[in-house]
């Protein structure tokens, strides 16, 4: 079957392409990009993309999966549906499942769950240490062989610096990046929000910005020592950006991501004590947000992630202290980056597209993020002018704990094509 995406503005950061083109999809691949015209036969399926952007399916390097261990939050199938709804067609699951992803069997189980059914490409980042306990190395060689695309203990940084050194040296040999950084457990102990004017004002225990930069500094030093490719996941402070810039100047193989929520929100979102605004790392000051936007535009920060973490309704019903960290973000990643960031003038359209497609795909060597002929047909039709309000209760699937609930947004995904199949159209899941 042939599928045409007609009349849209095709943006591909891999090639710098920005032109009005029709996209022909055949056998799950991008078959041809051609000048708009009345090609094809009556039996072809057509997606009308007039007035819209046609971009590669989004690539999200940081997603937390509720399965196994927290199926009440979100099953893997529901996560995939949330991704389809939000235009994310390639994603990387963090190893913080229960049990954690520290064995080849777990990687294989997650791959099997994802089914490799032609919808969303699900990749797995594996733990650095056994049980994410920070005591001894996980079987990294076997994990890499099973298909783990990166190594990280996620939000539990390895605090034994010698062990972290060994893990990074080992990962370098396996040619897998380490997702490092995070928050120092001592400095962040008991904290719920970023320390500062707002934490004092709200009477909430704070986490100083330095909880992030001390670990970023250590991991950057260890990257220098080991030659490991280091990715600082979800950076959130100005000081971390300075450290990153210095490491880049020295030519170290380091990269960084920022969460979409940190690009849009500041610690002011905690006013009203909304549990969905309790993020890890915590939301920062307006200056941090400006710095993150600037760093992304300048290329110091490479990509944007959703840092999606679905929580069950009862987990976000009460007070801030008793609710876990994290928020659902797969559904709003595209609107945040391709929509809001461009409308606010923080990013040019191609920069925005790069930050959620080609840049993250290249960082982990994933076969995604471009619309070149022959590429896997992961395509998103995005209407940059469409205005909508974030109403998680109306989402067809996945976690609904969004700190953007009630917020008007500019720009929305109107169709998602994954592996050549139309999986979402006008907000309805299909295929």
């Amino acid at each position: 079957m042939r599928l045409w995406v007609r009349g849209g503005r095709v943006l591909d950061a891999a090639t710098g392409l920005d032109a009005q083109l029709d996209v022909l999809i055949e056998d799950g691949r991008v078959a041809r990009l051609s000048a708009p015209g009345p090609y094809g036969s009556a039996s072809d399926e057509v997606v009308d993309a007039r007035g819209c952007w046609v971009v590669p399916g989004l690539v999200d390097l940081c997603v937390h999966c509720g399965q196994p261990g927290h199926e009440r939050r979100e099953t893997l199938a529901e996560m995939v549906q949330a991704a389809c709804w939000g235009g994310v067609t390639t994603l990387v699951i963090m190893p913080d499942t229960e049990p954690p992803v520290d064995s080849p069997a777990m990687v294989e189980q997650l791959h099997a769950l994802a089914g490799r059914d032609g919808r969303v490409q699900v990749h797995v980042a594996a733990a650095l240490t056994r049980g994410r306990q920070g005591q001894e190395l996980a079987g990294m060689g076997g994990l890499a062989r099973a298909g783990a695309v990166a190594f990280t203990d996620d939000d539990r940084p390895v605090m034994d610096s010698a062990l972290m050194r060994h893990a990074m040296a080992y990962a370098a040999q396996l040619q897998r990046p380490v997702l490092g950084g995070g928050l120092d457990p001592g400095l962040s102990r008991g904290g719920l929000v970023r320390e500062g004017a707002v934490s004092f004002r709200l009477g909430l225990p704070g986490i100083p910005a330095e909880a992030e930069s001390v670990l970023a500094a250590r991991d950057l030093e260890l990257a220098r020592l080991t030659g490991c490719t280091l990715h600082l996941a979800r950076v959130s402070t100005l000081r971390t950006l300075e450290l990153l810039a210095e490491a880049r100047r020295r030519g170290l193989p380091v990269s960084a991501s920022v969460s979409a929520h940190h690009l849009l929100l500041t610690w002011e979102a905690l006013e009203g004590y909304d549990p969905s605004a309790k993020l890890w790392p915590p939301l920062g000051s307006p200056e941090d947000r400006e710095g993150l936007r600037r760093a992304l535009a300048e290329g110091l920060v490479d990509c944007v992630v959703s840092d999606h973490r679905a929580l069950a309704p009862e987990e976000v019903q009460g007070d801030l202290a008793s609710c876990p960290f994290g928020a659902a973000g797969l559904q709003t990643l595209a609107a945040c980056v391709l929509g809001e960031m461009v409308h606010e003038g923080a990013l040019e359209p191609l920069q925005a597209v790069r930050a959620v497609t080609w840049a993250p795909a290249r960082l982990l060597g994933l076969p995604a993020g471009t619309l070149q002929e022959g590429a896997r047909a992961d395509v998103v039709v995005f209407d940059p002018a469409r205005r909508w309000v974030v109403e998680p209760t109306t989402w067809p699937a996945g976690g609904r704990n969004s700190p953007l609930a009630g917020r008007p947004m500019r720009g929305q995904v109107v169709a998602t094509i994954a592996g050549g199949r139309l999986v979402m159209r006008d907000g309805q899941l299909c295929g």
Partner: protein
């Protein structure tokens, strides 16, 4: 959400807001709204101590004290205030309720609403817990202390005490001494005092103070002597003993030496300085026994003013409006 208590604005900057259905905190509340409560409390003063009730504006109303933390004086103070106004009072403490059976805070509040509560007085160890409850129920919520955030009726009674004993609030210099960082009393005092034009100082060990840039408009003192020199009112906060265990302080004895209102410091204190303490006091840590008996101490009057202030709050928040005289 119509509680009128949440705002991004600088509380000291503008007129601030009035009251809504809930009393969640003093932050963002305006001068007029605060003075309204203080005047109402003054009218309540003779009624608070009276054994035979003449005026029962809350007859038939149900006030529920929902306490997730142990408390003696605040709970009894609210209970006496509610009874003095003729309300029915139900006390729920977590040890004897379905909270131990796993019912969530918001569900408990909804249950109380369904059972006919007119006002829920809530104490909770988590900052913002009353705000979350107030968003979920129609019934009014009065914050009786939430985590390290606010204790608005304590703030109001501290303001009332200063107003009664100093004769004014505007321009009065009030220094709060001790663990400012973890003190809900300090925050409610700061917001309330700022709204009525008093000056606020903080004094305490660096580990228990916010950073000055995070609290503009407040004067910071490293030495208690300097603070006592500056202040018209000194409010000695209770030091939680676990602060030492968690590494904020080297030793309680050292704390007393640097930040305690000792008998020795009392002797050098100006005769017109007012000494306050929200209680319960760690006698021999932040305050010496001699201070309690000193004429400059308002500590026992604070407790009795507390009932009048809570009567004012309950009468206003149960929709009874001003006392008709």
């Amino acid at each position: 959400m119509g509680n009128g208590m949440q705002s991004n604005e600088d509380p000291a900057a503008g007129a601030g807001r009035g009251w809504g259905k809930d009393l969640l905190g003093l932050r963002g509340v305006g001068r007029e709204a605060i003075l309204q409560v203080l005047h109402q409390a003054q009218a309540m003063l003779p009624l608070a101590t009276e054994k035979r009730r003449r005026w029962e504006p809350l007859r038939g109303r149900v006030v529920v004290n929902l306490f997730y933390e142990p408390s003696t004086r605040t709970r009894i103070s609210f209970e006496l205030a509610a009874r003095a106004l003729g309300a029915d009072v139900v006390n729920v403490t977590t040890a004897q309720s379905s909270v131990v059976k796993g019912e969530s805070l918001v569900d408990t509040a909804r249950t109380l609403q369904a059972l006919g509560a007119d006002l829920v007085v809530l104490r909770h160890p988590a900052s913002g817990a009353p705000h979350r409850v107030a968003q979920a129920v129609r019934v009014g919520v009065v914050n009786a202390g939430d985590g390290t955030n606010e204790h608005p009726t304590q703030g109001l009674l501290d303001l009332f005490t200063i107003w009664q004993l100093k004769g004014r609030l505007e321009g009065v210099r009030v220094v709060l001494v001790g663990d400012i960082l973890h003190s809900r009393v300090a925050r409610s005092n700061l917001w309330g005092l700022s709204a009525v034009g008093a000056q606020v100082g903080f004094c305490g060990p660096a580990t228990l103070l916010p950073r000055p840039q995070d609290v503009p408009g407040v004067r910071f003192f490293s030495r208690l002597e300097d603070a006592l020199e500056w202040a018209d009112v000194v409010n000695m906060l209770r030091l939680q003993r676990e602060r030492q265990v968690h590494g904020y302080l080297p030793a309680l004895g050292e704390y007393r030496q640097r930040f305690g209102l000792t008998a020795q410091r009392l002797r050098r204190l100006r005769p017109d300085v007012l000494v306050m303490h929200p209680g319960p006091a760690n006698v021999g840590v932040e305050i010496d026994e001699e201070v309690l008996a000193d004429p400059r101490s308002a500590i026992s009057r604070q407790v009795s003013f507390g009932v009048a202030v809570r009567m004012a709050v309950l009468s206003l928040w149960c929709g009874q409006g001003e006392l008709s005289r």
